[in-house]
Assembly symmetry: C2
């Protein structure tokens, strides 16, 4: 399994992904799920992927080796870049579909694409297995792929367009922590990439391992605060609710 989350705030974009893949519980490996395409001063395009690793690696390979005219790096805008990723997904689908159908394998993949191309602001897309895609808006400023549910409540409560980049990073790490806690098929190290709007170059792209002091502080600090928050919530008065027949 995989968990990737990306948020778009006024100050830029935050991308966080885990690195665990598994094909059955006895075949667990580490693969990075975040790929950066960059031409300094011109464009920064970040791709995150979830699903069947053979599919997503094929898509990455097509994009990586694309001739200039169909590369995401030469796209005139992010919508076009998303279309090019979608086209790569459809190319893999055309190649694999027949065999997959015969063997009962799902064509399972999804992508988050975000970045900035000179001439427009930051944009963030969610690309489906069909190669079509949707774009994040102010009311829906984040996307998740993979094991999304455990880490969704904190995003829903915190992320807004006005959220600072620091807070968006903190929120993504808490969201990841909730996912790591509840699903053992999501695992460290994490890839964190932070893009500041109009930089047209990535300054923060780090790997976060088990022993990262900040992530350790997030993990223990958040558990502690959740328990404290829980304790300060008023108790229910059960005595006032003696049997009142709900059924």
């Amino acid at each position: 399994m995989t968990y990737c989350v990306a948020t778009k705030v006024q100050d830029g974009l935050v991308f966080l992904s885990d690195s665990r893949t598994n094909a059955g519980i006895d075949q667990v490996s580490t693969f990075r799920k975040t790929t950066l395409f960059q031409r300094e001063g011109e464009c920064v395009v970040v791709l995150m992927s979830a699903g069947n690793l053979a599919i997503t690696q094929s898509v990455q390979e097509i994009l990586r080796t694309a001739p200039e005219e169909s590369s995401v790096l030469s796209a005139g805008n992010m919508f076009e870049a998303a279309s090019r990723v979608g086209a790569a997904v459809r190319e893999v689908y055309a190649r694999d579909d027949e065999v997959f159908k015969a063997m009962g394998i799902d064509f399972n993949c999804s992508f988050i694409l975000g970045g900035q191309i000179k001439g427009e602001g930051c944009r963030l897309f969610h690309i489906y297995a069909a190669g079509n895609f949707i774009e994040a808006q102010a009311e829906s400023p984040y996307f998740q792929i993979g094991e999304a549910k455990y880490g969704k409540p904190i995003l829903d409560r915190v992320i807004e367009p006005e959220t600072s980049l620091d807070d968006a990073v903190k929120c993504a790490l808490i969201s990841m922590d909730s996912t790591l806690k509840s699903n053992i098929s999501v695992g460290l190290p994490l890839d964190l990439l932070v893009y500041q709007v109009n930089d047209l170059s990535v300054k923060y792209h780090v790997s976060i391992a088990e022993d990262d002091p900040y992530f350790m502080a997030v993990r223990s600090g958040w558990s502690e605060r959740i328990r404290e928050a829980f304790q300060t919530m008023p108790p229910i008065n059960l005595e006032s609710r003696r049997y009142s027949s709900a059924s």
Copy 2:
């Protein structure tokens, strides 16, 4: 969709379920998912159900109309009661299987069964569509069925055998709130049933509607505390992490 959660602590059992069912987004109804079987002074058996409503109602009907010798009320212990629920599930499967297979319908159902029968302590079971089941233990003191993921992190952080009944109720309501917030196919009113060990009778079984003052306080209070907790977490120092090439 549905969300049901039940926790087993030393002081007793807590059951909480929503009441929304849907067959397509334009066919949403309210159905209670918690059924109580009780013989005061002898046994309290609570059944919660998720999945295909036609299946789960059939199972309830079989249990409700069962002759004395195969009723959950006459089971010698909770394991036997769980076996009888499993047998009812298999009876429905035998009836529906052929048509379901022909029409491509999944035999989709799951149940939580908990309670106490005189002569033993409280016990809690998760019963699958195959009619087989597992029992909660000290290390895994709760079960969820239906839309379980959004509400799991708070349970993982709080529930232990030593947790008080009041706290277990509070935790279940917070878990439900996270689910309601993230999945519109889970809806009010809620059924809350609290069983105190050795009572052999249910004293607290209430319906919680939109305007319930305590649940309203939980909902707004929890969101507020999560945001406060988030704000008190230390910020990441991005400057100290300038590009260190994760890829």
